[in-house]
Each structure stands twice: as C-alpha cells, then as structure tokens.
Amino acid sequence: MLLVMRRTALFLICFLFCATSATTALAQFTGLSGGTGSNLVLSPRFPEPGEAVRVSLNDYSINTNGATIQWFVDGTEVTNAANERTLTIRAKGLGNTTEIAARTTLPNGVQLHTKATIDPVRVDMLIEADTIAPSFYKGRTIPTVGSVVQVTALPFTDTAKAPTAFAYTWKVKGKVVGGGSRFGKNAISFNSGFGKNIPVAVDIYDSAGKHIASESIIVPLAEPELHFYEMNPLRGMSERVMDDTYVFIGNEVHVRAEPYFLDTSLLSSNPHVEWKLNNRSIENASSDPQEITLRKEGDRGSFNLEFHIRNLQQLLQGVEDSVTISF
C-alpha cells in the first residue's frame, strides 16, 4: 500500500512538473508582442526628431540558434537588414511616429513577433546664468564658478503644449533636486559651486504620468573677465576695450572697469574694490567705484592701471586685471 502511494505521488509530481514546463514553453512561443521572450530596445531610449536610432533585438532568454530575422519599418520589410540583430533608422519629425517590428522564425517554424514605436520628442535645455555684463553686450551671460545657474527644459511633442503642462524630475550632479517630480517646474536654479562642468539631467512625464523623455547636459563654467572702457559723461561708455596700446589725448581720461560674468549679487554685496596705479593703491573720488578719472602730469608717459573687485561673501566671485595707458 505504501509502495503504491509512493509511486502515485511520484507520478503526480512528475506529471505536474511536465505540464508546467510545457505551459511555460508554450507561453514563450505565443503572443510575444514585446512581452516575455524577446523585445526591442531603442538607443537612445527617447530619440529626438531626425536623430539616428539603433533598434536592438533582445531575445537572449530563448534559443534562437538557426532562426531567421526579418525587420519591418511601418509595415515594409527592410530586406538589407535580414538576419541582423540590430537596425539603425532615423527618427521622423515631431508628431510622426515610426513602427518597428521584428519577426524571428525558429527552425521548427514557430514565429516570434515583437514591435516598438519611435515617437520622437525634442527637449531643449537652455542654460543661462544670473551674471553681469554691460548692457550693450549682445552675447549671453554665462555661468562662472560660484554663480547662480538656471537651466530651462522645453519639451516639444506631437501636440503643441506649454512647457508647464508636463512634470519634471531634475538632477544636478546626480542628485535629485526639489524632492522629486514636480508638475510645471520646467526650470531650476542652483549655485555652480566649485568645478568646471556640472552635469544636469531631467526626466519628463506627461499629465498621465507616462515617462516621455529624458535629457542630460553638461553646464560648462567659464572664467570671469575684466575689461576697461573709456567713459564720456555725455556719450556714455565706449564700446571698445582699452588695451595696452591705448593712448589718451587731452588732460584727463575717465575709465570704467567692467567685469563680465560675475554673479549679479556682487552689485549689492558691498564688494571689495581696489584701484592701483603703478602697483600702488589709490583713493578713488568717483561716486561709482568702478569708474575713475585720471589726469596726466607732464607731456608724455605711461602708467599701469589695475582694478580688483571681489565678493567677500563668495570669494570665488572676483576678478582683477590691469591695462597700460599712455599719453
């Protein structure tokens, strides 16, 4: 009796094991639209319009030795990609999707189907800094060490939506900013701190919570500059830098020292300001600490004029330079 029961139990165990295996094997061979068994991997995962996309067939969990592979783009077979495991195509314009399908035919005739959709999304990452430059300067104010940087993400999808219609998760130097995803927050500000380059990344989600795009950039940090310009009380500041070949005519010259790309907080921080003439500090009677009036003594000569400005609360924010002026 005991022997019968043991053999019955053994039979049942074997039966159940075989049935499960068959079921599992059967599931691997049916209805595999990007499901278990094989799928298509896009690189980049969120391509932009016109960007080259590498589509890879991932079917390493099953034995496809001897299988043939066919690729289809929007229903049309790509014959020159036959039996390749990757396909490279270019994403279409905004609002235009591309359907990619791959059909794997096993030696026993079983076919595996998988597909993916390329829906390009453009994400522009606009960088700017809250740094100073003279108002006639027509270039962009750029970030420097210790300055405040702003990065703005502008996503463009197939339908025209304001940037605030999406949710954003920002990372600066690999750390999430703002505690996580925030709806409508398509811009962040942060202090650049030390270093030369700052990695910034953003993940973008639509109103349904679907992850639609990712983008990452490097924010380069530049060095602040200092240039000297001649001032005219009526005509304002000259737009030409005074270089070491500058010769002034007349009895006096008004000079303005103009720093570029220091943080705007410098202007309200009571910075350290120093003028030097031939390496000696001088008193500046001008009401504007960045401007100085110099009067010549003698018929001809030259002198070295130096200027130094620094934010005492943010010592990285400072610049100094000099110019030789002849008369």
Binding site: P134, R140, A187, A222, N232, R235
Partner: protein, 392 residues
C-alpha cells in the same frame, strides 16, 4: 623870422604828433584809409543798427555734407546712435540720431544740406530705432547694467515729444508708426509688449521664462522670433511664438544667432571650432553661406529676397570671434559682399579699406527703399557712412 609864428607851428606839429601817437595806441595801424574814418566815428554807410533775427520756423542748415563724391562716403563726424532712410516727394534723405545727445538731424542726399529736426537732449543716447515713416524714434540710453528708453515723435518746434518705456526695455522695434514693441525681463522671465504711444494702450504679446533672449519682430516680419543670445560655449535655440506656444524654427547649435526675413533665417553658429553661417528657407531648405553673415553686419536686398548684403572681415577663424567683437576686444576690418543664398556664393563688392583709406567696422547696416544705397555705422567712432550701389 617871426618868432611867434615859429612857436605856433611847432606847437601844432607837436599836437599832431601827439594825436597820431594816441590814435596808434588806441586803434593800431589801420589796414586802409577808410578804417581811419570809421575808427574815428566818421562812417558814411547806412547800415541799420538793429539786427533782425531769422524766422524761428525756418530750419537753420548747420552744415553741408558732401553726398556726391565717392561711392563710399562718410556722412557725419558726429557719432550716431541710429539712422533711417527717408523719402520725400522730391528728394531723398537720411535721418539720424546723434549719439550722446539724442539730437535728430536729416541729411538731404541730393543737396548735402543737413538740417536739425530735434534739439531735445536725451543724455547718453547710445541706440536709436526709427518707425517706418521715420517720425517716431525710440532712443535708448545704456546706463551701466540697465537701459532707459524714450519714445517720441519729432515735433514742429525742432523737438521731440513722447513717453518713457518701462525701465530695462530692450529688443525695440515698431509694429506700426504708432506702436512700439519692446521686452522687459524680470526674475528670469522675458515679457514682450506692444505699446501705442498716442493712446498709451499696452498689451502683452508673449512671455518666455528665459532672460538672455533676442527678439525679432515688427518691421514687416510675419512672425515673432525668439533666439537665445549667442555664446560659443552654450547651445542656442530659435523659436517662433504665437499665443504663448513656442515652435522650434531651426536646428540648435553652439554660438547660434540669426537674421530673419519672411523668406529666410540666416543662422550663424560655431562648427569645428569656428563660426559658420547657413540660411534656412521657409520651406526648410538649407544653404551654406561662404562668408560670416552676422545679423549686425548683414541686410536683405530690398527687391531680391534671396540676396544678402553683408559686411565681413577676411578672418573670422577665432571660436570666440563674435563674443570678442561684442565686447569690443577686436576690430572687424570689413569689406562689402553680395551673397547669393540660393547659389551659396558670395561676390566681393567693395574693399572698404581701399575705398576710404580707413578701417571700417560695420554695425547696424541699412538699405534704402529703392535698393540704391546702404548706410551703416562705423563701430570705431560711431560715424555714419553711405555706400552708393548705383555707382560703378
């Protein structure tokens, strides 16, 4: 000999010599005999003693400018903040604003007569933008890190009357002769406004959460374009905006800036560590341009939309050329080129240095309504120049 007679003669001679000595002491040596009588008050002319001032309504010509000699001519010695071509019924001219004072003048290009139109002083005026009819002017003063803009119409009293825009107004343009367009940036957001200078009605045109933006609008453009200011270190973008929806207009690129017309967007950007220019048509076709086509140095031809008049130096190889030029660190020694966009070719039209014997670094180029002349400001001294396109 009669002694009294001799004494009398001697006294008379002595008195004459004394009188002569006194005259010479007081009046000096006369140039002619008539001067002696006039110095002594014996004038015979009938010149009236009262002086009638000229009629104040008649403009006083201050200078006569040589507008006829040479294909390339310097029109002013005054520094200029901005200018525009003007067409009257029987003459043509160029109207300009003096840099620093904000005074307005007009030069008749046929006679060379320069006439003051406004002596209202707007101190430290550094830029001036004219309305299409040239009667309304926006005068910008750059004061350290901000701008102050006065917009007014030329009055009948050799003056200009108008209003001040919001502090920090930039990107000035005119939608019509009465509607000025400008932007104001606060807390990292740039807002565009349209302001009627007569009714004082103001309406917001767009809002963009970015501060460093150049706006191209008005002046016949059908769209409003927003372009990030250029930096060779940072990627730039160009959009059009309508109903607060942004639409990308071109590719993104480092150092990107652009000049706009209704037919083309002429982009300048860095590639392989130097600046290059490409034109994009409204249909999305791309044309490589053989010379650097900066928006400050180029203008579309009046009648042929695929032709561009550009001034450019021979060497623009530095990757920081544009920003260094903006800062005033370098000078562009410009020549004049005619660029055929469709053909991607450029023809050297004029060697400015050879024609003038001087370095010309062009900023703010303009073309007249007949396509017959170019005007531009020389960045070196802000003087106004004219190039005649009709002279061979």
């Amino acid at each position: 000999m009669n002694r009294p007679l001799i004494i009398t003669a001697g006294i008379v001679i002595l008195l004459l010599v004394l009188g002569l000595w006194v005259y010479l002491m007081l009046f000096g040596t006369p140039d002619d005999s008539g001067e002696v009588f006039s110095n002594l008050g014996f004038e015979l002319s009938t010149q009236p003693v009262t002086i009638t001032p000229p009629d104040p309504t008649t403009p006083l010509p201050e200078t006569t400018v040589d507008t006829q000699n040479g294909q390339l001519r310097q029109l002013t010695t005054r520094p200029v903040a901005g200018s525009t071509f003007i067409t009257h019924a029987s003459s043509s001219g160029i109207r300009y604003v003096e840099r620093g004072t904000g005074h307005v003048y007009e030069i008749d290009l046929d006679t060379g007569i320069e006439t003051p139109l406004s002596r209202t002083t707007i101190p430290q005026t550094t830029e001036a933008t004219f309305s299409p009819n040239g009667r309304t002017i926006a005068l910008t003063a750059h004061t350290q890190y901000t701008t102050s803009v006065f917009v007014g119409e030329i009055g009948e009293e050799v003056n200009i009357e108008g209003i001040r825009l919001q502090p920090g107004a930039k990107n000035i343009s005119f939608a019509t002769n009465e509607d000025v367009l400008y932007t104001v940036t606060q807390n990292g957001t740039t807002e565009g406004y349209r302001h009627n200078i007569h009714t004082l009605n103001q309406s917001k045109q767009f809002s963009f959460n970015y501060a460093n933006v150049d706006v191209a609008w008005g002046e016949g453009l059908q769209k409003t374009y927003l372009a990030t200011k250029p930096s060779h270190d940072l990627e730039g973008y160009i959009y059009s905006t309508a109903n607060d929806i942004l639409t990308p207009e071109t590719f993104s690129a480092y150092g990107l800036s652009a000049l706009f017309s209704n037919d083309f967007i002429v982009t300048t950007y860095t590639q392989d560590n130097q600046y290059t220019s490409t034109a994009v048509s409204a249909a999305g076709e791309y044309y490589n341009l053989p010379i650097l086509s900066l928006k400050e140095k180029c203008i579309f031809d009046t009648f042929a939309p695929n032709y561009l008049w550009c001034t450019a130096p021979a060497d623009t190889s530095s990757p920081t050329f544009v920003e260094d030029w903006y800062k005033g660190k370098l000078t562009a020694v410009d020549d004049l080129w005619l660029v055929d966009i469709a053909d991607s070719s450029a023809t050297l039209y004029a060697d400015f240095t050879e024609l003038s014997g001087r370095t010309v670094d062009v900023k703010r180029i303009d073309i007249d309504q007949n396509g017959s002349a170019l005007s531009f400001i020389n960045k070196l001294d802000h003087t106004l120049w004219l190039y005649d396109l009709t002279t061979e």
